[in-house]
Symmetry: C2
Subunit: 208 residues, 2 copies
Amino acid sequence: MPKSSNSDHKKSTVSPPERREELLAIAARVFAAQGYNATTVRKIADAAGMLAGSLYYHFDSKESMLDEILSGFLDELWARYDAVLGAGLGPRETLEALVTESFREIDRHLDAVAIYQKESRHLGTRPHFAYLVESQQKFEKAWLGTLERGVAAKVFRPDLDVRLTYRFVRDTVWVAASWYRPGGRHSPEEIARQYLSMVLEGIALHDS
Amino acid sequence: MPKSSNSDHKKSTVSPPERREELLAIAARVFAAQGYNATTVRKIADAAGMLAGSLYYHFDSKESMLDEILSGFLDELWARYDAVLGAGLGPRETLEALVTESFREIDRHLDAVAIYQKESRHLGTRPHFAYLVESQQKFEKAWLGTLERGVAAKVFRPDLDVRLTYRFVRDTVWVAASWYRPGGRHSPEEIARQYLSMVLEGIALHDS
DNA sequence: CTCCTTCCCTAACAAGTGTTTGGTAGGTTA
DNA sequence: TAACCTACCAAACACTTGTTAGGGAAGGAG
């Protein structure tokens, strides 16, 4: 259930979505660059060309901005993941599709991904952000299942620790958010292809 | 030049090293768990069983604690890296040794590595922490050189973007600090072996 | 005993934090 | 014109932040 944002806030459905999204994008950029805790509401307001208090016309709190950024990102991510997982693909094709979708998501929601990478671990302990660990568990289930299917189908190596492999694949994909910049030389699809080539075939040269 | 800690502080060489190290280990644990900015001096003092002001008998500032943790970690890391790089090994053996040493360093200095992972990017902009980006550049030079040597010697695939491969290998190793726990089922050497097997040979099953 | 050093506490400081309250310019509606 | 809504400002609020100054208990040195 990707439903994660809480809808019982006062102004959460009031102001027109355009300005909200604009301000959220600005906040996400500052959060990603400076870190959530190091980011003051005055910095966000500065970047938006207004005063700190004015933000509270649009949002309930600084934390609700973070909440909206993260849950919005996760909702979209899971929409695409669920589409892949429900397509009835083989294990290798599933893995390739998941990796490709992940890089596309990094391309679209870079700031949100960077924030998620940095803050999700210690945010998950707070009850309000419990959906972060739910998502991570669902994440693990999807990837682990795909890997195990692949081992059973003899398309992945059986001599590797599956859980270690899961973390390996997961991390190699998502840490790319720490250096990837949209509009650079490589498209998300091209990066995905090269990453998949490394993960699947390895970087060593085999004479064949 | 791995010399990175600044030695021109007032009390930096005063109090006996034992208590300093003890307090630094405590501070590192809290920094790693909560993030540097989210960690207050009072939280560190709580964990150490004393009051906030008492920390300033041992350290100049909160930032100097972070500085000492990070520079101490990097000094030790580079001592080991330099030993590997100066051993005259082939490219593949060099890469294997670097990866293994990295996992050993994660095992020994887990908190410092986690802090470095989370904070180094936005700390590097501050002039006092310029040694972080210096280290990162030296890092890149060492890994990139090894990879290029390997391609020239036909032990690594020539069809991969070398810089992408560098980030791939670097990240896959260091993000392990986000889940690795010392004393777990796998020793650092065993994790290094499995990681190297995945990076070098890939996770796909090849009939041979 | 006295002096001195070590290590910590008490108590406060100024600056910065997220947030609230009341107000207001400008446009839309009646 | 009058009433109203939107989107912001101005100014303050209570609280937390890193840091400092002065003091004092414990113990070793003379």
